[in-house]
Amino acid sequence: MDEIMSRKRTSFFTIFWGILALLYFFLPIYGTLDFSLRMERGILGFKAYKIIFADPRFWEGFRYSVTMAVITIIVSAAIFVPTIYWMYLKVPQARPIMEIITILPFVIPGIILVFGLIRTFSRPPLQLTTSTFKTDILMIAGYVIISMPYMFRAVDVGMRSIDVRTLTEAAQSLGSNWFHVLADVIIPNLRLAILGGSLICFATVMGELILADFLVRPALGPYMVRLGLTKAYEPAALAIISYSLTWFSLGLLQFFSSRSERQKQQVITT
């Protein structure tokens, strides 16, 4: 009897807190959305969105940030997948150290990273602030560091879910060299982990502000801030656009993971 009571109570509180959390999360978004639609007095409309989509600086920022994000993802995957693989295989005891190093970008404020980068790379021997191309390289390097905690963790979790060492040895005994082991065995089994890391990486770069601002590159982040200084409705619309982008990414992640599940299911039934 008591048990039933307490179970009822927990389920009541679960729902209560659940609803509270949802409200806490969605109310501001709803508020922003509502506000963004009220640019024209008295009617709900997409005027703020139209203005943004008509602004060439938005598209410039969008294109720039997407390009940077994609390059960042490629570079950081190319760095982290082999590194973490090597760590699992040869120096598993280094994992705690790696974990601390990769969490540093969380601890060190972005502004310090930027000043560090600018101070180090705006003078010889490695001067990277003299052309936009070189500055972009610096940007990518900074983005890779900023997104490092996500990429490392995503790949680490994926790596832990497979028996890296035995799979490597099995592939080697079948004649595989290192490149083939990675390309045929390790990476395919990390696909989802890498995808997950990449999407978070993407969202981080798309919203990044400080690096682009100080290195004076036309990314989406600074555009958003500048818009916010002079306008009221457009930034709200932009916030909704960027939320949608993030959710779209998460949706993609969900889609890919459930699709690979479905594929597995299908094979079972045939």
Partner: protein, 353 residues
Amino acid sequence: MTHLELTHIHKSFGASVAVEDFNLTVKQGEFVSFLGPSGCGKTTTLRMVAGFELPTSGNVTLNGKDLTYVPPNKRNVGMVFQSYALFPNMTVAQNVGYGLKIAGKSKNEIEERVREMLSLIQMDKFYSRYPYQLSGGQQQRVALARALAIQPELLLLDEPLSALDAKIRFELRQEIRRIQQKLGITTIYVTHDQEEALSLSDRIVVMSQGKIEQVGNPFEIYNFPQTRFVAKFVGSLNTVTATVVDPAKGIASFDGINLEIAQGLNGKNKGEEVTIAIRPERFNFLAEQRKENVFDCTIENITFLGSVVRVQMKIGNSIFNMDTFNRPSLKLPNIGGKEQVTCSNKAVLVLAG
């Protein structure tokens, strides 16, 4: 014809020695087991043959070619792991064909060979399944097919059946032997299960603490163990330390009881200590039949093991086991009762160490 040769293999991990002065020659087509308790260096030795570990010193030669420093992917050695290690992202067919794909074989050739291998392990129907859709036993069959598909010169198996339940283990054991004999492939099989080693092998290498204790065929290993360790580890030999009384006549004594040994004690001196061993099944009650050695004993315990009854008894101050067939006419003594048992002088073995 010598096929695989391990000479003076030595392996240390830092200060700890895993394998010490390991010497072995394996003939073409031979099935050799490494048998020993956990941590005795079986896996380490196998991994040196596969190329996953470098020996600290010594050499591995296959077909007269020194392989010691050849990387594992250039050895053409098939390996089967305890954990199956199938590639989760590939189907059964892709797993089996992987080695051939790496070797750059044509699609048709791979397809043909994969079908052939799958029919060899009787798993044709599982062609397009993924590993997680297979039972452990099926996965291990596929792993075997995958290792054999590349037509390796040597097949290495590291406790391939340990993760499976008893019935599957028994079936797959027969299967491995059948396939091995059909293909005539030289095989090294690591196990800590004496029954597995005895039933499968042409020869058994019994190991303890990184060293070879004895190499011999199952019959020799079981019936003529040379060391106390082998005697204890393989089967359940009774061992006791005895003192040589008369080397010429082959008489020794333990706990003041004399013992006649048919094989004699040549090369031993009077008063020297030797380890002797007697298999439990070589004892019988004096009432049934008289043999050369007769002992007074006290019955300590009686255990029924199905077709066999194991009687634990005390002779002098030493505990011995006697196994006797469980037939209806058997008259079992009382626990704590005094009895007389007997064994042939040929049943008494003298061990080296």
